[in-house]
Symmetry: none
DNA sequence: GGAGTAATGCAACAGATGTTTCATGCGCGA
DNA sequence: TCGCGCATGAAACATCTGTTGCATTACTCC
């Protein structure tokens, strides 16, 4: 029996294959269920290639022929449907750090409190401008929130400290603006400064933090709490913060109603116009 | 097209069938996946019945022949396997979007497969240099991975396309380097270009993607798969990608052993020296 | 620019597929 | 006990399967 899944094998070997075999291979990867059930000739007709191509593809992958490849696809499919991954992960007893981390992340996410998100989203929705601050490892989360909010509010969302000393940005904070602050212990000096500036500037402050008494959360109108420390890894986990940020963005979008939708469509059209994305492939099998 | 599932049909008609047909029918009901994939003769051999029995069974159920029955079994199976996740996510009626999103994220995380992470981490560990690519909304995840890896490998990890046209970075890829590519459908042009450059540059490629047949994952030595589309929100969710990235970084750190630890301590000392963090507060409540 | 190699499409091949026919076996009613 | 009819298994059937050899094309390296 073969140890690697035929799809993995296919993916790895694909670039080194001749053009038509690549095309056939992509078709198989995208239609693996059909490849496992329909006949080779049917598949070839659907893919617009001569039947022999699929035999050759299978042989190029190291199988004796198409039938062997199909057999492997069937087995892979059977195994996939059998047990969910989590069960398979827990079957692996000790020592498996990745499995333990993912399990811990999943549990931490399940414990998050969604209740304060709605109110925070309303605050964002009502603010004329939104500032987002996150430094060090929280920078990624901040950027993500920034990206998602700009999809439907492109001209009113800004990231604090994008290209240099944050002092310049901090001076621009105005009463009525909303500020989202993202951090966890130990708190970077930058985030504490940003929090103070936001407070003193009269902004509505939304804190994403791991502790309710975080320095940067003092005076915040809304607190979305996540757990960064439970991960068995060596670094705190940011999945909780990210999940909250995403929920916040989505809720804010929903509040925007039709206007948000229009803005989003405009943004999408703009991206499509500069061909930012590769042509859409078929739907997942 | 037939409206009732072939299995239901079978179950209902079973009592009125002759003995051997009943036996064959039960076998089909209990092994529907095999019935859909193996040949009739194989099935007959496994069930201990002559092949003709299955043709007759199909006809007794109202199908023109075994092939028609199998077709129905395949369709039933495709429908079942097609949308397992999205169905569950949409089950949450309406009302509380943030809660539904967090729940969906938690579930998606629980379904992640940690198995390929270890091998990918080993590849990272062994590479002299590591490149990380992620664009648009995946930029945040890429940055986070970049940040965590630099904590203990400050001089060998770089983000692709940090400050301008990525062409400059792409030219610097060398054989033996490892490249981590993060994206989901629809794939940005930049990530596909980066993937090709990495492949042609002889790098060991690690793909974080939502589909095994993603264009950017072709030829990748390792594929860490996440699910971006399950979220009930309007944008894809990146928590899965982030969780995998964190697991990857942690596993890579663990492989580094004492050397990694020393580097991490150095980094921490450097941060403390420039007073990047505010004084440590109490332990979490 | 030409020789050599790899890739591709086509058509013929042997084998396997699902179906059907036919002979036999079995049970039930007269 | 004898027919009658349905259920059953084996074998022959046409068809379709996956494969392979061959001729042609495209490409690459001198």
């Amino acid at each position: 029996m073969r140890e690697t899944s035929p799809i993995d094998l296919l993916r790895q070997a694909l670039p080194g294959l001749p053009p038509r075999l690549q095309a056939a291979g992509r078709y198989v990867a995208q239609h693996d269920f059909d490849a496992a059930t329909r006949s080779m000739r049917d598949l070839a007709a659907a893919a617009g290639a001569p039947p022999a191509t699929f035999t050759r593809l299978a042989q190029a992958l190291g199988y004796t022929g198409w039938e062997a490849l199909r057999e492997a696809l069937i087995e892979a499919r059977r195994g996939a449907g059998g047990a969910p991954y989590s069960a398979r992960a827990r079957r692996n007893p000790g020592g498996d750090l990745p499995a333990a981390m993912l399990a811990a992340d999943a549990e931490a996410l399940a414990r998050l409190d969604p209740a304060p998100v709605a109110a925070a989203a309303r605050a964002l929705h009502e603010a004329p401008r939104i500032w987002i601050a996150g430094f060090r490892s929280c920078r990624g989360v901040a950027q993500l929130l920034h990206y998602q909010l700009r999809l439907f509010r492109p001209d009113s969302v800004r990231l604090i400290g994008g290209a240099g000393p944050e002092d310049l940005d901090l001076g621009a904070l105005r009463p009525g603006d909303a500020a989202v602050l993202i951090s966890f212990a130990p708190y970077s000096r930058a985030i504490v400064l940003a929090a103070r500036a936001a407070r003193e500037g009269g902004c509505t402050t939304i804190a994403l933090a791991d502790r309710p008494h975080a320095a940067m959360a003092e005076g915040a109108a809304h607190l979305l709490r996540f757990d960064a420390a439970t991960s068995p890894g060596f670094f705190p986990s940011l999945t909780g913060a990210l999940a909250l940020a995403q929920a916040l963005a989505a809720a804010c979008f929903a509040l925007g109603g039709e206007a948000s939708l229009v803005r989003l469509r405009e943004t999408e059209a703009r991206l499509a116009a500069i061909a930012a994305y590769t042509p859409e492939q078929d739907l997942p099998s």
